[in-house]
């Protein structure tokens, strides 16, 4: 057993001359629920597809359960549960036939657990996959991915296209399923509230770069949004490292700074501000600040 079921080293992917992933390095430790965030086209799905060996990387290396993704063995494939964006199931099959196929091609099949999931989801086994609703397909995909008792679960925007009720139901079950055996999870989503509920570590991809990779609590404590009011006008020569966003209007300046620490506070005090108040930030606020087109890059965990 490897300590890091997912290892990504200097991953670069070009597609039609366009850089999709730009030097991504990442390690997901065993038992971690890693929330991967990013706007549309930021490279989340490409990264996941490279991890699963569905897409070749241009440069760099990815390891899944200790094996190179480009040469994953059947054994390694059988230990990874994957719920794809759009749910790639064989549309022409009936649900029961698809179940038989997946069962026949799995290393382990937990019949009891799968039965429980099917009962909860109330999926019709005699209907064709293409006749199922998007929500049902998502549920079927999750049930199939979980029935193999995977060591590693990769969920690529699994709630995409689901309505609010179906999304909530899916997540409740996913959380229940995920937390049962302390599995390692890589979870990508647009819906930040979902990630905030599930994840204990966050990665944010912006234009193919991993600008954030730390625990959720750490992210919230590291990124500060401050409203600073100066006696006269805002200074032009306020230079701090890790400024993500800076907006000035008259005497007031709103600063979003990464890695806020006493040294940075001391630098700010040189400009003798009248007041400096911290504005509370949710994960969504942090995400929006980090993915702003003009936003600076948030330093990684190793940086001070």
């Amino acid at each position: 057993m490897t300590d890091n079921p997912i290892v990504i080293e200097e991953l670069v992917k070009y597609y039609d001359g366009r850089c999709i992933l730009d030097g991504i390095s990442l390690r997901v430790p065993r038992g971690c629920i890693y929330g991967l965030l990013g706007r549309n086209g930021s490279g989340k799905t490409t990264m996941i597809r490279i991890l699963l060996g569905l897409e070749p990387p241009t440069r760099g290396r990815t390891l899944v359960l200790g094996e190179d993704s480009t040469r994953l063995s059947a054994n390694a494939h059988g230990r990874v549960g994957y719920v794809a964006e759009g749910h790639h199931l064989i549309q022409s099959y009936t649900v029961s036939r698809l179940i038989d196929l997946c069962k026949g091609l799995s290393l382990h099949w937990n019949d009891e657990f799968f039965g429980q999931l099917m009962e909860t989801f109330r999926l019709p086994t005699d209907r064709k996959v293409k006749d199922l609703s998007t929500g049902m397909r998502a549920q079927l995909n999750l049930a199939l991915a979980m029935a193999i008792d995977p060591e590693l679960v990769i969920l690529d925007d699994p709630t995409l296209g689901l309505d609010t009720v179906a999304r909530r139901q899916f997540l409740e079950l996913a959380i229940d399923v995920i937390q049962r055996q302390g599995r390692t999870i890589l979870f990508s989503s647009h819906i930040l509230a979902d990630v905030e509920r599930i994840a204990d570590r966050i990665g944010i991809l912006v234009a193919g770069k991993l600008v954030v990779d730390c625990s959720l609590d750490e992210l919230k404590s590291r990124v500060k949004k401050l409203r600073v009011i100066f006696p006269e006008r805002t200074p032009d020569d306020l230079y701090l490292t890790g400024i993500i966003n800076q907006q000035a209007m008259g005497r007031e300046m709103v600063l979003t700074v990464a890695n806020w620490n006493p040294q940075k506070q001391a630098i700010l005090q040189i400009f003798s501000p009248e007041s400096c108040t911290e504005m509370p930030m949710t994960l969504e606020d942090i995400f929006i600040e980090c993915t702003r087109p003009a936003g600076a890059v948030v330093p990684q965990e190793s940086e001070v």
Binding site: P56, H77, V80, Y82, H88, L105
Partner: protein, 207 residues
């Protein structure tokens, strides 16, 4: 592997039945010609046309196997289960081989039982029958391999043009070289090239 083979057979049953249908028709015609005493050249001409149908059926099988996979993104699901792309491809080729054997073996038996009905009766008939059977099997498998190769392309026009051109190439090879070692060697090379190219594309491209 057995699950993969079973899946392929069940999914492509119609296209597996197609070459077998031509084989059965050929056997029926040979048997009826023998009973009714139809002159051999007529039955031989029919046999030649039906052999072309058999080749076409095998080519269709290969094309459909790869094309339906790509269009329906079947391998995306399969390769996230406990199998590798190599195993998926191997299962597919084994189904092709199985179809070829099911179509050709009864023909060879018929030709042995009813000499002169499927291939002309000549001296050293068994030797000629062996050469013809092996060459036809290889030509059939070459057609199947070409079907696999062109079937992996997403462009339907290319699939159609490619199939026709390469089938014409196979037919010309057998026509020029005749049924013998030369034709067999050329066909083996063609099969190896087509299979290697398809395999390398299948295992390395994005799914």
């Amino acid at each position: 592997m057995l699950t993969l083979i079973r899946r392929e057979i069940r999914d492509q049953l119609l296209y597996i039945a197609l070459p077998c249908f031509f084989s059965v028709v050929m056997i029926c015609i040979a048997t009826m010609s023998y009973w009714w005493g139809v002159p051999a050249p007529i039955s031989l001409a029919l046999a030649a046309n039906l052999t072309a149908g058999l080749f076409l059926g095998l080519c269709c099988l290969g094309t459909v196997q790869m094309h339906t996979d790509r269009a329906g993104r079947v391998s995306v699901l399969l390769s996230t289960l406990a199998v590798t792309r190599g195993q998926i491809f191997l299962a597919r080729v084994l189904v092709g081989v199985l179809t070829l054997l099911v179509a050709v073996i009864p023909l060879v038996i018929t030709a042995l039982v009813l000499p002169g009905q499927i291939i002309p009766q000549v001296s050293s008939y068994r030797h000629v029958l062996a050469a013809v059977s092996v060459t036809i099997s290889l030509a059939g498998f070459a057609c199947y391999s070409i079907g696999l190769l062109v079937g992996w392309r997403t462009n339907r026009a290319w699939v159609l043009i490619g199939s026709i051109l390469l089938l014409a190439l196979v037919a010309s090879l057998v026509w020029i070289k005749g049924f013998g070692v030369d034709a067999m060697a050329v066909l083996l090379l063609l099969i190896a090239a087509a299979l290697l190219r398809t395999w390398s594309q299948f295992v390395s491209t994005s799914l």
